[in-house]
Structure formats: structure tokens, C-alpha cells
């Protein structure tokens, strides 16, 4: 037993529920997966080509710790153009290994052991463990479909204690697809200003907002100084495997994140940074093209869920639908496992994103229309087979949206 060598932190860390479903589905033949948290598009050729060219030209060494200056300048310009936010490329922009590393650095740079970070749930699976790894205490706020998974100011205010350091938000959200609009963000901002809290905002799905322009909480009045923005190339540019993200924030916080980054990581991949530079300069048509496809698939799959009797709020962004499966009487895990075994459709049970995700499943629509149609056909069969005598009660409000 080498177990005795493990740190208690590592020992106590919960394995991800997503991992379990990966193991269940991985060995099966003919599975249609709605369980994938990444684009089905391959990175556009011009981006791939720019990286290949950088290799041909011999860009194979470390870059500056915070990333290539030209890339930092382009990131700064991106936030200036899109959000009218100005970040100094020399001291307020950090290129990271995916948004994932950005989240980790942000938390490590600000959280002291025992301090609390408020997390809006259902939430991306890595927030809680990352906070715990930094010695912090995650304080979840549960939200429900009734409020489109938006947190209220009151709920946040109630969760604040004198140990609260920060609030983590994610918009558009993984897993619910909810977009926090200007007024939702303003509510959160008001509490943060009142209680002097920092905001860590995960904007990795910002380019995948369908019904309205994405708003960054950092652009609200008095918020820039208390906000760390996390973003990256994974979702909007279909670059998940490149592991490239970035963080923006006030000078002193960014410099603290940079210190940790330089000792633990040195710099993000040089080759990937050259691709990302091309993405920001010339990749916007491809982003628009992919967004248009996701939007049509979203419309299709959400309507299909509603028609098969699964109430489902219309997600404003990301590429996830988060329908309720409560009408079937199954728990999320039961539903997902039975669906996988009986119809070979992989989805992620909602409870892995927190207790408020129970009764829901996360369905990614980052798949071709052919795959989505087949998944819908199989799910209809599944629901018909397991339907109780009475027809499902379909939520009138969500049917109309």
C-alpha cells in the first residue's frame, strides 16, 4: 500500500462524476455522445497553418512568462473592441495553459487558507476542487430552472460571511447554458461592491452567446478593479486541445498570478500561442460560422426535448441544453445510465454539477445535425418506453419561450 504516501489533499479530492460516465461509455460501440464538452469543429485551417509555420520558422523556445507580447496586445485589443475594457498588455494580460490554468492561478493568487469563495451552481466541475486545492472553502449557491439558473442578489448576500473573498461566475454557463445578462450581472456587482468582494468571471463561452451580445461583469461601473477575467481559445475558436487561455485583471493581481505562473509553468505553449495570434487576427469569420451552426442545433434540440415532454429552458449560450428529467421519475444518474445502456446515447447526469443539477441532464449539442437527429430519435423511444400512464406535465412557460 503506497497509499500512506498520499497527501490528505489528494486523498480527499473527489473524483469527477464526468470521469465515471466517460468510463461507462468509452468501451461501448455505436454510442452517440451528447456528453462532449468541446466543439465538434476542428480548429480552422488558417490557425493550424499559422502554428505549423511558426514551427517551420523555428519558434520552438520559451516565450516571455506572460506570453508573446504581440498576442497579449491582440488580447488587450479584443477586450477593448468588444467590451470597451482597457488592459495594459505589459502588466494586465497573462496567457495561460487553457482557461483551466487561469482559474487555478486566480484562486491561488487571492485565496488564503480558510477563506470562502462563493460559487453559483450547477457549475463547471473544476471550480470546487480548485478552491479546495488552494486551501479555500467553496460556498455553493444553488439555482434552479425556475429562475433560468440565475442567482439572486439576496442569495449571494446571504452566503457572504466575514471570510468571503470572492464570487465565481460563469456566463454563458457550463452546464446550464444560462447567460447572465446586464441586469443579472448588475445585481451580483452591487453585492460585491457593497461587501468588498472580488469577482472571478469565467468567460470561456463568451463567443457562443446567441440571443444577445455577451456582457462582461468587468465592464460594469466600479467592477474592473475587483474582477479577474478568465477566457481562452478552447470553445469559441474550437481549440480545446491547444491548451491556451488568458487572464485579465488589475495590475497587482495579475502580477501575483504571473509569479505563480512563472514558477509552476514558465509559459504557455509557444506553438499554440502563434496559432492563437492568428485566431484573434483572422479567425472571426470562422467563429461566426460555428456560432450560427450551434444556434440552429440549439433551437432544434431544445424544441425536440420540449416536444418529448422534457421541460427545458432555452439556454442563451454555450453548447449545452439542461433539460429536466424529473417527469420520468428517474434520478439523473439512473436516467443517464439507463439511456446509455438501452439506447446508447451518452449524456452527463446533472448532479455532477451540484445538488441543484439533480433532476437534469447535460446534453451537448456540439454534434452534427445527423447525430443530433439520431440522438433525439433514440431518446424519444426511451421516454416513450419509460413513460408512466399519465402524459408528462409540460411546463407551459418553457414551452412558450
Amino acid at each position: 500500500m503506497s497509499n500512506r504516501f498520499l497527501s490528505s489533499t489528494a486523498k480527499n479530492l473527489q473524483p469527477s462524476g464526468i470521469r465515471r460516465f466517460f468510463d461507462l461509455a468509452a468501451g461501448m460501440e455505436g454510442v452517440i455522445s451528447l456528453g462532449v464538452g468541446e466543439p465538434d469543429f476542428v480548429t480552422s485551417w488558417k490557425i493550424r497553418e499559422a502554428s505549423i509555420l511558426s514551427l517551420e520558422e523555428g519558434y520552438t523556445s520559451y516565450t516571455a512568462n506572460p506570453g508573446i507580447l504581440s498576442l497579449r496586445k491582440e488580447i488587450s485589443k479584443y477586450y477593448r473592441t468588444k467590451y470597451s475594457l482597457s488592459y495594459d498588455p505589459n502588466s494586465e494580460v497573462l496567457v495561460t495553459v487553457g482557461a483551466s490554468q487561469g482559474i487555478d492561478l486566480a484562486i491561488r493568487a487571492v485565496v488564503n487558507p480558510g477563506e470562502e469563495v462563493i460559487v453559483i451552481r450547477p457549475s463547471f466541475v473544476s471550480y470546487l476542487p480548485t478552491i479546495e486545492l488552494a486551501g479555500g472553502i467553496p460556498v455553493p449557491i444553488e439555482t434552479t430552472a425556475e429562475t433560468d439558473f440565475r442567482p439572486t442578489a439576496d442569495a449571494i448576500r446571504h452566503a457572504v460571511t466575514d471570510r468571503t473573498k470572492a464570487v465565481m461566475i460563469c456566463s454563458p454557463s457550463n452546464p446550464t447554458g444560462t447567460v447572465l445578462n446586464q441586469s443579472s450581472l448588475q445585481e451580483i456587482a452591487d453585492v460585491c461592491i457593497e461587501k468588498d468582494l472580488l469577482v472571478i468571471t469565467d468567460e470561456i463561452y463568451a463567443e457562443l452567446s446567441y440571443d444577445e451580445a455577451h456582457v462582461s461583469i468587468a465592464s460594469l461601473s466600479k467592477m474592473r478593479e475587483r474582477t479577474i477575467v478568465i477566457n481562452g481559445f478552447s470553445k469559441g475558436f474550437a481549440m480545446t486541445g491547444w491548451r491556451l487561455g488568458f487572464a485579465l485583471g488589475p495590475d497587482d493581481i495579475l502580477q501575483a498570478m504571473l509569479k505563480i505562473h512563472q514558477y509552476t509553468t514558465m509559459c504557455a505553449s509557444t506553438t499554440a500561442q502563434h496559432g492563437a495570434l492568428e485566431a484573434l487576427r483572422n479567425g472571426w469569420e470562422d467563429v461566426a460560422h460555428m456560432r450560427k451552426h450551434y444556434q440552429r442545433r440549439r433551437n432544434y434540440i431544445v424544441r425536440s426535448f420540449q416536444e418529448m415532454g422534457l421541460s427545458c429552458h432555452m439556454p442563451g449560450g454555450a453548447f449545452y441544453a439542461f433539460p429536466s428529467i424529473k417527469s420520468t421519475g428517474f434520478s439523473s444518474e439512473e436516467f443517464a445510465e439507463k439511456l446509455l445502456h438501452e439506447e446508447k446515447v451518452a449524456v452527463v447526469p446533472g448532479n455532477v454539477f451540484g445538488p441543484s443539477g439533480e433532476g437534469h441532464i447535460r446534453c451537448s449539442y456540439a454534434s452534427s445535425m445527423e447525430q443530433l437527429q439520431e440522438a433525439v430519435r433514440r431518446m424519444e423511444q426511451f421516454i416513450a418506453r419509460h413513460s408512466t400512464q399519465e402524459p408528462f406535465l409540460v411546463d407551459q412557460k418553457t414551452m412558450q419561450t
Binding site: F22, S33, R296, N299, R303, S304
Partner: protein, 164 residues
Amino acid sequence: MNEKEVEVLEIIEHNGRLAVDTIAKMIDMSVEATGALIRSLEEKKVIIEYATVIDWAKVDNDDTIKAMIDVKVTPKRDVGFDEIARRIYRYDEVKSVYLMSGAYDLSVQVEGRTMTDVARFVSDKLSTLDSVISTTTHFIMKKYKHDGTIFDEGDADKRIVVSP
């Protein structure tokens, strides 16, 4: 052309077999309205045909030969290139005709059963037309990409089945 019409066209250009109710959901309109919209596009001949892209190279007994022919012509007063183009596109062997800028005037795509068929079409029919000055025939050896569709690339999903 309104926004929804353009959207329908974009969708069915790549998949003419989607059911109307599927398209209706995708564009967030009723099935009736979507059906009516498609019918009107068909009537206006905006939608000309529902075609299929086939990789004939994968069909064992496919023996059609395809060629692109650069054609130089003398344009005629008043009708310019249109008259000669019309004469050319009426032949069954001709699959497409474009008026080009540059070294020659018309680009004509021709299909035949054998190379001799194509050669005979060019020498007997095309070259002998009054206004045709010269032709240069290029046989197509392999299709890599056609009308935006890549032919020789496996599009296997390389993603893992479940991820965060």
C-alpha cells in the same frame, strides 16, 4: 430575400434531406410557415434542384471521364458570349459552362464514358463551332474538393466520448 429564407437556403444547401419539421425547429418557426417558405423558394426557382454529392471514385464500375476545356471564342456583336455559351451548354456531355476572364473565354466541363468520347466531342462538336478559335483539354484525374466538400478526408470524430 429575408433572413429566414437565407437561413433555410444555407441549411438545405448542405443537407437537402432534412425533414421540414427539423428545419422548422432549427430556424425557430412553425412547420406550416417553414413548408410554405420552402415551397415559395422552389416556385421562384431559387431552389433549383435537390442534388446529392457523390464520390464516384468510390463506385467500382464508374468509368466516366471528366475534363475541363478552356475555350477561346470570338464574341458576336450584340449577343457577346451568350449565344455561343448557349450553344455549348445544350450538349448533354457538358456539365458546366463559365465565362472566364484571362487567357481564354469559356471554361467548359465535360463528361464522357471514355477518353475517346471526350476527345471526339471536342474535335467534332466543340472545335467546329463557328466562333470557337481554340480549345485546350485538361482531363480531371482526381477530385480532392468539390463545391466546398472535401473528398479524401476522414471526418471521424476525434473527441473523447464524455468530457467536462
